[in-house]
């Protein structure tokens, strides 16, 4: 699959996900109306849930990147600092190689090496690095990291990831809200012993959905993110024509196992390596894979070295 097909697929997936989430919110709302709504005469909760879904996905799409930038305390580069000027140069070089507009560049004062990209399209994107990354990596390795992130931008991975981040957040919120409601269930309506078994099954499904949705949406976010890392590694290497530089960079990043404190779990799937630190590639196996936003770093390095015909 080439990068243009991937870009098209990512844009379609973004739409599909939004649709699923809106339907999911409707389902939650209908369930709440079934519990409480009968006295009101209007599907009060359904309308609320639908509005929450539409407003949160739309505003997330528009302002999610700014929210993420401010939550990580990212600030603009200081071009008088030679290291930051070098990074700015590297990003400009890679944007020429990728043939996309120059993303806005930001830095986070964190000693742990990491980087991420966000935004909704190549025309509207931001690239963030930590101070630690600039201090740890050599020029060609910085280039490799920039190329990896630029591929996420060019692929529209950033849009999909932004949508996922916003939706996972609002699912957690709404499910929390809905399950709290269950404990305050109105006793007026406890005289419904005659309910058919079909209604009961629907009710059970609704309950299970409310309980499981936050976990499932997290798992889905991780799956979506893992899938995209190998492709970004590969197309990044295609831009620099130097897969070994990225392998070297990943080795250096993974040897610094400290967590990136300024990046919280909500943004983890955007980063070049898992900001949780200890998880960065140490564990393997399907269970560790299931709960990781990134494939094991060892495997990524191996794939890159194979690209350079080293193995």
């Amino acid at each position: 699959m080439n990068i243009y097909e991937q870009a098209g697929r990512n844009q379609r997936w973004s739409l599909v996900l939004i649709t699923i989430f809106i339907l999911f919110f409707l389902f939650i709302g209908i369930g709440l109306d079934h519990y409480y709504g009968a006295g009101l005469g209007v599907p009060f909760f359904t309308v609320i849930a639908f509005l929450v879904a539409v407003i949160s996905s739309y505003s997330g799409y528009l302002y999610g990147d700014k929210l993420i930038l401010s939550s990580t305390h990212a600030r603009e580069l200081d071009l008088n600092d030679p290291k930051q000027k070098q990074w700015q140069n590297v990003v400009e070089e890679i944007s020429i190689a990728a043939g996309i507009p120059l993303p806005k560049t930001y830095i986070i004062d964190d000693p742990d090496p990491n980087a991420f990209a966000t935004g909704r399209s190549p025309k509207n994107s931001s690239l963030v690095v930590t101070r630690g990354l600039l201090d740890t990596l050599a020029r060609d390795e910085l280039q490799a990291v920039a190329a990896h992130e630029m591929s996420h931008i060019r692929n529209f991975d950033i849009r999909l990831m932004l949508v996922v981040a916003v939706l996972v957040g609002s699912v957690a919120l709404v499910c929390d809200w809905a399950s709290r409601g269950l404990f305050f269930r109105d006793n007026r309506r406890s005289d419904r012993r005659g309910e058919s078994s079909v209604t009961l099954i629907i009710l059970m499904t609704w309950l299970i959905t409310v309980v499981l949705a936050p976990v499932l949406s997290q798992l889905m976010a991780m799956f979506v993110s893992r899938q995209r890392e190998y492709l970004a590694d590969a197309s990044g290497a295609e831009l620099t024509r130097n897969p070994l530089a990225l392998a070297k960079a990943l080795k250096k990043i993974s040897s610094r196992v400290g967590p990136t404190r300024s990046i919280n779990q909500g943004t983890a799937h955007l980063c070049i390596s898992d900001p949780k630190g200890e998880l960065a590639g140490a564990k393997e196996g399907w269970l560790a894979d299931l709960f990781a936003t990134h494939p094991p770093i060892k495997k990524r390095i191996q794939v890159l070295e194979e690209m350079a015909y080293l193995k």
């Binding site: 030679p82 000027k85 070098q86 140069n89 590297v90 400009e92 070089e93 890679i94 020429i96 190689a97 990728a98 043939g99 020029r139 280039q143 831009l239 024509r241």
Partner: protein, 186 residues
């Protein structure tokens, strides 16, 4: 009935011609744009060189010939016309700059000079930009050429008057040379 089939075929043919023509125009403009990107980066390099020479001149009195060579190569590169000539002159300039930076290594006070290291970073970034702009141009131009040469588009190309785009190749003999590997144990 027969007339309708002919008409349908003619309409299909015209639609195909329109699609082919537009596709080729898109690629042609993309490769022209790619070429302009190279030009922009080359100009950036030409603008940086006088600064560099000015900064290192004092400390490198003994290397006057190298400095003159760089300036000369720069002026020739600016004056060059046409893709092939331009590519050749730019490659000579690259060689001259590389020589200059190799010499800078011999002057510790230059190496530690902040202005020099800043200029060095700017120039190596410019070299990379030129490299990446060429890579991007060559990729697009290759796509354009392949589109022109593959069947059935090649049948329409002559009628439209498209010509294959020149690729930016390495013309400098020293860069083409295969590096010699010395296996004797010293």
């Amino acid at each position: 009935m027969f007339g309708w089939i002919i008409l349908a075929l003619a309409v299909l043919l015209i639609l195909w011609l329109i699609a082919t023509y537009n596709g080729l125009i898109l690629l042609k403009n993309q490769s022209l744009n790619g070429w302009k990107q190279i030009d922009i980066q080359l100009k950036r390099r030409h603008d940086l060189i006088p600064n560099l020479v000015e900064t290192v001149k004092g400390a490198m009195n003994f290397e006057q010939t190298t400095l003159t060579k760089v300036i000369e190569a720069r002026n020739k590169a600016i004056a060059a016309q046409g893709i092939a000539d331009k590519a050749e002159q730019e490659n000579i300039l690259t060689g001259a700059l590389r020589q200059l930076f190799a010499l800078v290594e011999n002057y510790p006070n230059l190496k530690s000079n902040e202005n020099v290291s800043r200029l060095q970073e700017e120039l190596s970034s410019t070299e990379n930009r030129i490299g990446f702009a060429r890579q991007f141009y060559n990729d697009i131009a290759t796509k354009f050429n392949t589109a022109q040469q593959t069947f059935p588009t090649n049948l329409a190309v002559n009628a439209f008057g498209f010509k294959p785009a020149d690729l930016f190749e390495i013309l400098d003999a020293s860069e083409k040379e295969v590096p010699k590997v010395d296996l004797s144990l010293k």
